[in-house]
């Protein structure tokens, strides 16, 4: 069994990408979208999340450790591929390369984002609320940094969902894989809308 450790780690990596990290991402952008309905709506929802009992334990088990594992193994995976989109310009080969490229963007984005929000809250420097995000996103470069970060996360999740279905042997035939491409495109558009819409609400109040 010892020689099957690699298999186990890769399957765990795949699973964690969807459960819990993917679910967390959708939940996170869904709550953020409440910003569209005004400052009070967002603050109320963010407050509930923040005041959950055992919040630090929950965050560690459901978010930090899974992302840390997924990110570290992910970076290793990124650097063991030989990218070939110039020679083999097929659609799936591009998705393969983009999945890895967005993974690297996410390492940078998530580190920055967590430092700016959760770490600062933990240090008692700021509070999680509407005005925190408003302050960050009112700077145009930061706004675009967040647009790139959010779209990368959503792409990585949606395309990851597609390959998750293959990794777990759910979609096998070319036809089912084609249909799941369209389903994942809809996931990308829907979750991407939530993300971008809330960024606009924070930054421009629209």
């Amino acid at each position: 069994m010892a020689e099957q450790r690699e298999f186990f780690f890769r399957r765990l990596h795949s699973l964690l990408g969807v459960v819990p990290i993917g679910i967390f991402l959708v939940q996170h952008l869904f709550i953020n979208h409440l910003a569209v309905y005004g400052e009070e709506a967002f603050n109320a929802a963010a407050g509930i999340m923040h005041q959950l009992p055992f919040v630090l334990v929950l965050e560690t088990l459901v978010i930090y450790l899974p992302i840390l594992f997924h990110a570290i193994l992910g970076v290793y995976i990124v650097f063991t591929s030989r990218y070939s989109t110039r020679r083999y310009g097929f659609f799936r080969n591009w998705m393969f390369a983009l999945q890895r490229f967005t993974g690297i963007v996410l390492v940078i984005f998530i580190a920055w984002h967590v430092f700016e929000t959760r770490v600062q809250v933990g240090l008692g420097n700021v509070d999680v609320n509407y005005s925190l995000m408003e302050g960050i996103l009112s700077s145009t470069p930061m706004f675009w940094f967040y647009v790139v970060g959010v779209l990368s996360a959503v792409f990585h999740f949606a395309n990851g969902l597609w390959s998750f279905l293959v990794t777990w042997g759910i979609t096998q035939t070319p036809k089912s894989q084609r249909i799941s491409t369209y389903v994942c495109l809809i996931v990308f558009l829907a979750v991407g809308y939530l993300g971008i819409r809330s960024l606009l609400a924070f930054a421009y109040g629209i």
Binding site: F90, S163, P174
Partner: protein, 254 residues
């Protein structure tokens, strides 16, 4: 094209496994219906490069000359394919020939595909029927299954799918798509099925099926049109189930 009297080849050569690669250009007389191998034979007959210098003949590998053995694979104008089935009339000139870079180079266009045979050993891609007495006729196979299994059996271990795979390279130990599909072939066979879990466990060993990242280049380039990505997904499902059986225990675990 037919009027042209010369064909130009730019060939990436290498004198030995550890020698530095270099390019050499050859101009050879055009004949009708030439394939790349007949052009290489022409160079062998008269090994003089385009500068008029005497050189060593270009080395390549071949066997069947009808696209069933897989020995003659090389990268032709940027695409890995069989040189015996590559017709000069259908290729843009100058024609560039390179060895498949995924494999260790033996000399010039000859590569060592041993890793593919090691991979077949890892997944036990055969049916053990040797014994001391006649086992009698094997069980019959359903016709619809035979039809798709026949497609998988066309694999000639040519290496084109490994060459196209971004995850088969020096920094990864991934066995590549061909052996995964072969494990599926032998697991589909009614007699081979009796050792199915051994092949699945081979697929779960280091360098096994988890190395696939779903770029799906393999299925696009396979000269035999083998549904490699369907095989990979099917083996993904089968290895996951096998892993559960191994861990939680079951009489069919091993």
């Amino acid at each position: 094209m037919a009027e042209q009297s010369k064909v130009t080849f730019i060939i990436t050569r290498q004198d030995g496994p550890d020698a530095a690669p270099y390019e050499e250009t050859f101009e050879i007389p055009y004949r009708q219906n030439m394939n790349v191998i007949s052009a290489l034979m022409e160079i062998r007959k008269n090994p003089v490069n385009s500068k008029g210098e005497q050189t060593t003949p270009v080395m390549w590998d071949m066997n069947c000359l009808e696209e069933v053995c897989g020995a003659c694979s090389m990268v032709i104008n940027g695409t890995a394919r069989q040189s015996c089935a590559a017709l000069v009339d259908q290729l843009e000139q100058p024609i560039r020939l390179e060895p498949m870079s995924t494999f260790p180079i033996v000399r010039d266009l000859i590569v060592d595909r041993e890793r593919m045979f090691d991979a077949l050993k890892q997944v036990k891609a055969w049916i053990p029927i040797d014994g001391t007495y006649d086992l009698g006729p094997g069980p019959r196979m359903p016709e619809n299954k035979r039809q798709w299994a026949y497609e998988l059996s066309k694999c000639m271990t040519c290496g084109v799918c490994l060459e196209a795979c971004p995850n088969v390279n020096d920094s990864s130990n991934f066995i590549g798509p061909a052996a995964i599909s072969q494990a599926r072939l032998f697991n589909a066979h009614p007699t081979g099925e009796m050792n199915a879990s051994e092949r699945l466990n081979g697929l779960m060993e280091a360098g096994g099926i988890d190395g696939c990242g779903n770029s799906q280049n393999c299925v696009q380039v396979c000269p035999k049109g083998i549904p490699l990505t369907t095989s990979i997904a099917a083996m993904n499902r089968a290895t996951n189930i096998q892993a559960f059986k191994n861990f939680f225990g079951s009489d069919t675990a091993l």
